[in-house]
Symmetry: C2
Subunit: 109 residues, 2 copies
DNA sequence: TAAACTGGTATATATCGCAAACCGATATGC
DNA sequence: GCATATCGGTTTGCGATATATACCAGTTTA
């Protein structure tokens, strides 16, 4: 075993990785929300290729975590759901990226 | 919405990320196995802080995927389980890292 | 002989991701 | 008018997953 290389690894962040964000579908959603001020449900559905039900439940989970804010409004009698990343979400997303990068970088020889 | 920044994102690898590897506990296991020629069960258990049952089931999953090879032997009447990363596992792990890095890099402002 | 430890495996449980069924409202066909 | 289809989602159901606990065979210690 190569102790030297092992000690160079910084794997600790992995133990406390944010699983709400780690899920690929939600990572995708957050990636889109992170570059716009807000997006609606259908836009996200098209971009992510998630089904309606799947997208809806992931958004609920993100809302429960306090990472996205969901605002519903009517546009000519038709309901529209607007999503935006909360400040808490932006911070958590940034932290997640930092942690994962650190782990991945420490693994590269 | 900022189309320019959105188009610069390379999120496609996310859609086909390897979930066997994506799970943090297994990512941790693979990280350790990637720097040693082989390790035994207790060593991994101590390094990862996983419980015996948990570690055992993750190793089985990795074995089923063909990513690790499990060899059992006796050392003075005491059983010992040796784990090593297979070639297939090494390739898949490398590919996972490449994909995740690409995604994370495309998200950095 | 019994109690405690080793090195695991099997089982129970809780959660999760996903798809399909459902739902209220609106537009369309006849 | 009254079905029927469509829109924009939410709720429900199910199989798979992750984790902890119970369990087990064998070994060492008291």
């Amino acid at each position: 075993m190569n102790d030297e290389r092992m000690e160079n690894q910084n794997l600790q962040p992995l133990a406390e990785i944010d699983r709400v964000i780690h899920e690929p579908a939600r990572l995708l959603i957050l990636a889109y929300l992170s570059v716009v001020e807000s997006a609606d449900f259908l836009f996200l559905m098209n971009q992510t290729n998630l089904t309606r039900g799947n997208l809806s439940s992931h958004l609920s989970k993100l809302e429960t975590a306090g990472y996205v804010e969901i605002k519903k409004e009517f546009v000519d009698k038709i309901p529209r759901t607007l999503l935006r990343l909360s400040e808490k979400g932006r911070i958590a997303f940034h932290e997640y990226r930092r942690n994962m990068k650190q782990v991945l970088d420490s693994l590269s020889e």
